[in-house]
Symmetry: C2
Subunit: 691 residues, 2 copies
Amino acid sequence: MLTPASALAAVFEPRRVALVGASDRPGTVGALLWRNLESFPGEVVPVTPSAASVAGRPAYPTLRDVEGEVDLAVVAVPAHAAAGVIRDASAKGVRAAVVISSGFAETGPEGARLQRELLAAARAGGVRIVGPNCLGVQNCDLPLNASLAPGLPGGGGGISLVTQSGAYGMAIYTLGLDERTRFAKVYAAGNKADVGDAELLRYLGSDTASHTLCFFCESLSDGRAFFEEACRVTPHKPVIVTKTGRSPAGARAALSHTAALTGQERLWRAALAQAGVTVARSGLEMLDAARALDTQPPPAGPRVAIITNSGGTGVELTDLLADEGLEVPELSPALQEELRRLLPAYASPRNPVDITPVWGRFTELYPALVDRLARSGEVDAVVPVLLQRAADEAVTRAVRDAAIKLRVDGVPVPVYVCWVASRATRAGADLLQEAGVPCFEWPERTARAIGHAARYGAARTRVRQRPSTPPRPAGLPTMPDGLLDADIAAAVLAAAGIPTVAHRTCATVAEAVAAAEALGYPAVVKVLHPSLPHKSDAGGVRLGLPDADAVAAAARDLLALAPGARVLVQPQAEGTEVVVGGVRDPQFGPTVAVGLGGVLVEVLDDVALALAPLSVAEAHHLITRLRGFAVLRGARGREPADLAALSHLVRAVGDLLAAVPEISELDLNPVLCGRDGCVAADWRIVVRRPR
Amino acid sequence: MLTPASALAAVFEPRRVALVGASDRPGTVGALLWRNLESFPGEVVPVTPSAASVAGRPAYPTLRDVEGEVDLAVVAVPAHAAAGVIRDASAKGVRAAVVISSGFAETGPEGARLQRELLAAARAGGVRIVGPNCLGVQNCDLPLNASLAPGLPGGGGGISLVTQSGAYGMAIYTLGLDERTRFAKVYAAGNKADVGDAELLRYLGSDTASHTLCFFCESLSDGRAFFEEACRVTPHKPVIVTKTGRSPAGARAALSHTAALTGQERLWRAALAQAGVTVARSGLEMLDAARALDTQPPPAGPRVAIITNSGGTGVELTDLLADEGLEVPELSPALQEELRRLLPAYASPRNPVDITPVWGRFTELYPALVDRLARSGEVDAVVPVLLQRAADEAVTRAVRDAAIKLRVDGVPVPVYVCWVASRATRAGADLLQEAGVPCFEWPERTARAIGHAARYGAARTRVRQRPSTPPRPAGLPTMPDGLLDADIAAAVLAAAGIPTVAHRTCATVAEAVAAAEALGYPAVVKVLHPSLPHKSDAGGVRLGLPDADAVAAAARDLLALAPGARVLVQPQAEGTEVVVGGVRDPQFGPTVAVGLGGVLVEVLDDVALALAPLSVAEAHHLITRLRGFAVLRGARGREPADLAALSHLVRAVGDLLAAVPEISELDLNPVLCGRDGCVAADWRIVVRRPR
């Protein structure tokens, strides 16, 4: 199982572990860690200068003194001594260290200095660091509990949890224990001085024991790398992220207690969505989504069947599923007729299938309906609601067996149980969860978890078709640094396959008039001058000029706006105004933004973002996510826009930014979208070569 | 305690109860109800034709045969026999009957017939009916358990629950029992054949034992009456409504199992919001909001202090509170300095106040911080997070005592506990809840409940200032039925104090030119003809006409659009386009709608609704709720609109609809809002007198 290539294999699957700072003294961290490591099947070597033995085992004063190989050092020494321990680890050939000790960057400038020293020692010696200031690491299957947490979560499950917050991470898996959730690996990241999130994601993505990856964090390190890794993982395994510090106050709170800056929230959300990552708002929501995804196939579509013994609960769950974008479709007449024969009088076979409170028949009806509906081809998920008297052991066992049979038979329709009953009956819910049938208390947790599962089912298909980086376009002109000249910029766009409205740049009134005569009326005249990059704001745009006189007058005015100004002359084009832009972000690299012109983008900030390159399908999906998308689809008698052409244009903008690293900004504002095709009517490109 | 005026007093506080259909036979509904009624301190009289005695008590064959007075009949007989029982009740002078029996409108046409028969008997005999097809009624304090539910919820609390769904209602109070929630009264409404929701709201609104009113329902009867009642109640008591069947599929599901149509969702939401009703999406959310509101004063503002032993949890809770529109403000430097002296090193006094995991000091720090922050004047609510080791009994008792002391001292700042710990420690949470300190598991339930409490705190102040119905305006012209003539409509608006753009109606081109000369250029010419009510769609509007020639040409075209057409001539006005409308709804009466012109209202359907009459403050609040409100505030260099003038105009529209019942529709589209004032540029009024 040990992959020599990865230091994280040494962290999660060591053969021999040294505990530096081991102790016999009750109440010390060294003693707690020693006790927690006791379940490890391999050898644990105590290292401490202050005792000759720990728990009857001979202790070594330093790591250098240990005989035989050590894969992993668990370090619990004062912060000022940690760098020395890492130097010893390096000398000993230890590949990785879990630094539990706190007193580093989280405490202020002096701690930050100690952390830099620790990291320098690690880098110099080739030792990889988990933490510092972390709760530790657990492999529930091995088992290995190299952490401060007493006891291990139940192993044998596929959920692996990476948590930046130690205390909250422990609370999350305590909840997991309460609800019989099984884990594979738990990793408390602490200050993340060395090993980053993308590296962890890569490791867990290829770890055969981890099927469902959860990240609870205030910051994620290295946006682009995490995105790329996630795009590789999500087609095969769900990745669920809860990134707190989303709100300004939350971000301030995050800063006050960890050493990491929270990322640019909006770009993060776009990147995670594009990579098919499930984004949860809280730890509880994350764990619920993980339970829904870990043991059942994700729904292949939005159609849900509900089986209930309480009409009111069925209605509430239907509403909550609709809030998640899911459907509770009426069943076909044939299936309703078939169910009607099975059900008592006054029951409803429409969906929700309402059994009514026929207590005596629950044990027979619930499993029969679960089986029949899952195999009907009419729904993508089945949700039995076990409410009050239906939440008893016989019904629960029967539902469990029906769900297991569906998995055995390879029926690709998941079963989720909605549990609404007194806590005293909780053992029944545990029975389901232990058998891999996700069971959620109350309709809202149920609906939310199913919503995540269904969105993951849809997203992983999209992510499978991620494009690779495109080649540099042929025929690019020479591009000096700074804001490109309009003609050069148009040539760049032409090389990238992005259409622009016909135009001529003119230095005199006569040239402008000649250009308008050639290009046609009504004409548009715009000022061109490096000091006036925002032409409209400078009063430098004249639209709808009907004839040569009007063009001459406009050109005269605009040429006078600045010494050396020129004008751009175009025929006036028609269409729905769309804004397409590209920016090279320091953390995420090339990104693309799309919005609708006018009040939607200006006031409602209705802009959708994606990382480039992106496929045409991704570009189309991006456009459909705009709140004002209905405008493009042709709402209320409007002309529908050519979405295929717009999607290709957005893709082309992304490709250009991805392939030509010296382009730092690109703005097409507006792009005019008509029924056939779309075209950029104004454009700006800024070139900035890295120094 | 018995209010003779109200039949509901007989339902909730009877002195003597008759159980019709009482039985000794185990497993029958009659036996179950008999057992449940045993705790009633008054006398329960068994009525049944099939036994001489029940539980050793002599049974009467019918209600008519009972000796002595009966206040309440609980009826559990077959549906076809129920009307006869009600006739007996009438003869006996019984004022109210809880009809548990099912088999009525919920089952189909034959059941609907039986329900009509039941209701006719009740109306004829002056007997009020609860149900039929209901779980029954409970008064937890008396106690009275006139229901199928075994056992009563804990009494002595202020929460009263009205539930249309019997089974889900039981589940809700089972959760209440699990979480030590105390109730006053529980009412399962069933088919609501007689007693309506507004009547219930009126009764519970004046019931001294009920402090917090919860309605869980698929339909609410009589929109206007419920709204008016709610406006009277919410300034004094919170009213929380969960109305399911919100989504189309949910509404279909609701229809399949009850006999009630779900209401017009959008108008319901507007009415409930305006009446200061707390709207929850689910039964669980409703009960959480009720717990937050029942024993603590609502927050007077949005500022929340968090005390936590886990930074990560504090950050998550901060985000979730921000999602609810609340703030976690940084504390003042002076207060931070004071707290810093109290706290351990590395702790953060900023807010969230992060104690860090100093276990030994939790029992001292948590209550001290709760007390200090609640009295600081810097926050409107205090939330201690009791996570893992902080969720022990000593800390819990200390926090409880601190919270109780604040209530005793009259400090108007509520305390809510966020509980994040293993279920095994649940007893601690119960300790808090039993002492009236609301305790919520996990940050999301906590934040959501506080959000509801804070919104209620703000809304009840607004609702206190509801206006009364205005008088009919003086100087109204004679209004024939149908679409009013433009001049008459303008006179109506003038009488109501609603400004319109200067205008003249003209029958000839010459009149139009003369009008434009008098009113000024640029001019606007619009067609007027009863067959062309939507002028723009008919090509009947010409804007920006610069001179007499243009006006003449436009008038000539438009006068030719229909035989007998006239034109309206106006000077062109400027301003942000707003749409203001009024409609008389069959269920809610006069209503007002406001939206922003253009893409926002047309494509995003960005319209806010309210019931008329409304105050200027309510009108202003309505306008601020528009998604595009920033446009009116003057976003991105736009001219800010005169919000005071617009609010007055919206109020005036509402007053007009409320005071003049023959106006069935009114449209001001557009209203042009400038920096100083606003004015209707086009208007339509439809008059329809009830026949």
